[in-house]
Amino acid sequence: MAAPSGRTREGAEPAQTESPRALIVMNETLGNLVVLTLQHGSYDTKRTTDREECRDLVNDWAPHISFIDLDLFEPFIDIVGAGLTHGHTPIVAFTRRRDTALKLSAYERGADDIIEVPFTLDEIVARPFALMRRAHGASVAIVPRIKLDGLEVDLIEQRVTVGGRDLHLTPIQQTLLYLLAANAGKALSREDLLATIWGGEFEIESNVVDRHIRELRVKLNDEWRAPRYIETVPGAGYRFKLQASLASAAE
């Protein structure tokens, strides 16, 4: 891990073994998904949606890269960009809008890359990998396999296994699984899941969430009446069951 260029403050340069620091400016549901996925790059993450806190984090914590939900927190581009005195912090912007003008202006104001909702998890790993190299000359170590309770996920081989059994998940199913697991213990409504995974303007069949949950449960061997992973919360949506070993992973 090389230091961001232009950083001069003593003791602030990361050591060779230090994890890259990623600042996440997103609401909780999407932010948790990004935080969990960034485990595949061994990032240290902090999430905020507060301007003051964001300013402090940029100055004191000096993130190597930032992830900003452009649709909800657009002004934060300038707050993070103002950290330019510490060298360039690449910004990855997220948007649900198919709006060329918005994107071109985001690029102009300092966004280095844009991830469009709906996205798949590999985007959250691959694009920062390229930006960290371009901005810092740093090669982020990729961690293909992480554990989610009894589930082992291999993002490179696109494989999720339970006790050695390959579940053959599609990229969207894998994203759905991460999103639920990243927010373990919390019920996510259909609208939440739709907005986070598919985005507002992507046309989809109305029952797409239920259909994907059903398929995911089948693949997980999860009985809907007595689920081990995904519970139905009547009137509220779906909830990934909080499990001891998972609580720390999804923190």
Partner: protein, 235 residues
């Protein structure tokens, strides 16, 4: 680093299989580009020498499997900015592409708007002022506005969704050719849509309604029974 300015339209070499290549070339009408489509890696290498493109677009999933080798090629000792295309979810290919120096990646399926934004951003990064953005283009006699996502039909300007626009561009960029439902599904929706889904037919129906295209006597989109759809040549 001194940025080389563009004098005329930027030359873009497209190393992508059909029918996607035609969709890419049509979509690039939204910028000041001239495009060539190379059939395979060998002819792409020849074009790099003789035509000296400013931008290279390479599909890593094309039949010709050696696309990775084209990334970061030099023309007159300058690296050619390169955007690669790959199917979604494939982290291994994406990391390999970035590792070899790809400047950006577009995940297939994509909508025209994303291709336009990423190419313009890269051209600006590579060539200073970059390429002029052309929001309104003529697609087979139809005036299409990318910024407002509208198409001009007589006196009406119906709004197109991103997917309807992508479908229109795909069909119109391959006039006279029958595209099968599966082919359209693969190009625009990708593998996550189950076979047998009627999503293509539904979108064709909506698009026809907006274009005031009568399916019995179409001006734009013809049905090829048992096969798929065909865009009729410009009237």
């Amino acid at each position: 680093m001194k940025k080389n300015q563009l004098l005329g339209p930027a030359r873009v070499l497209i190393v992508v299989d059909q029918p996607l290549a035609n969709l890419v070339a049509l979509t690039l009408d939204h910028g000041k580009y001239v495009t060539h489509i190379a059939r395979d890696v060998t002819s792409a290498e020849a074009e790099l020498e003789t035509w000296r493109p400013h931008l290279l677009l390479v599909d890593l999933d094309a039949d010709d499997a050696d696309g990775l080798g084209l990334i970061g090629q030099r023309v007159a000792s300058k690296r050619v900015p390169t955007i690669v295309f790959t199917v979604r979810g494939d982290l291994k290919t994406k990391l390999a592409a970035f590792d070899r120096g790809a400047d950006d990646i577009i995940t297939v399926p994509f909508v025209p708007e994303e291709l336009v934004a990423r190419t313009l951003a890269l051209m600006r990064r590579s060539y200073g002022d970059g390429v002029a953005f052309i929001p309104v283009i003529n697609v087979a006699g139809l005036e299409v506005d990318l910024l407002n996502q509208q198409v001009k039909v007589g006196k009406l300007r119906p709004e197109l969704t991103a997917m309807e626009q992508a479908l229109l561009y795909l069909l119109a960029s391959n006039p006279g050719q029958t595209l099968g439902r599966e082919e359209i599904l693969d190009a625009l929706w990708g593998a996550d849509y189950v076979a047998g889904s009627n999503v293509v037919d539904r979108h064709v129906r909506n698009l026809r309604l907006k274009l005031k295209d009568d399916w019995r006597n179409p001006r734009f989109i013809g049905t090829v029974a048992g096969k798929g759809y065909r865009f009729l040549a410009t009237p």
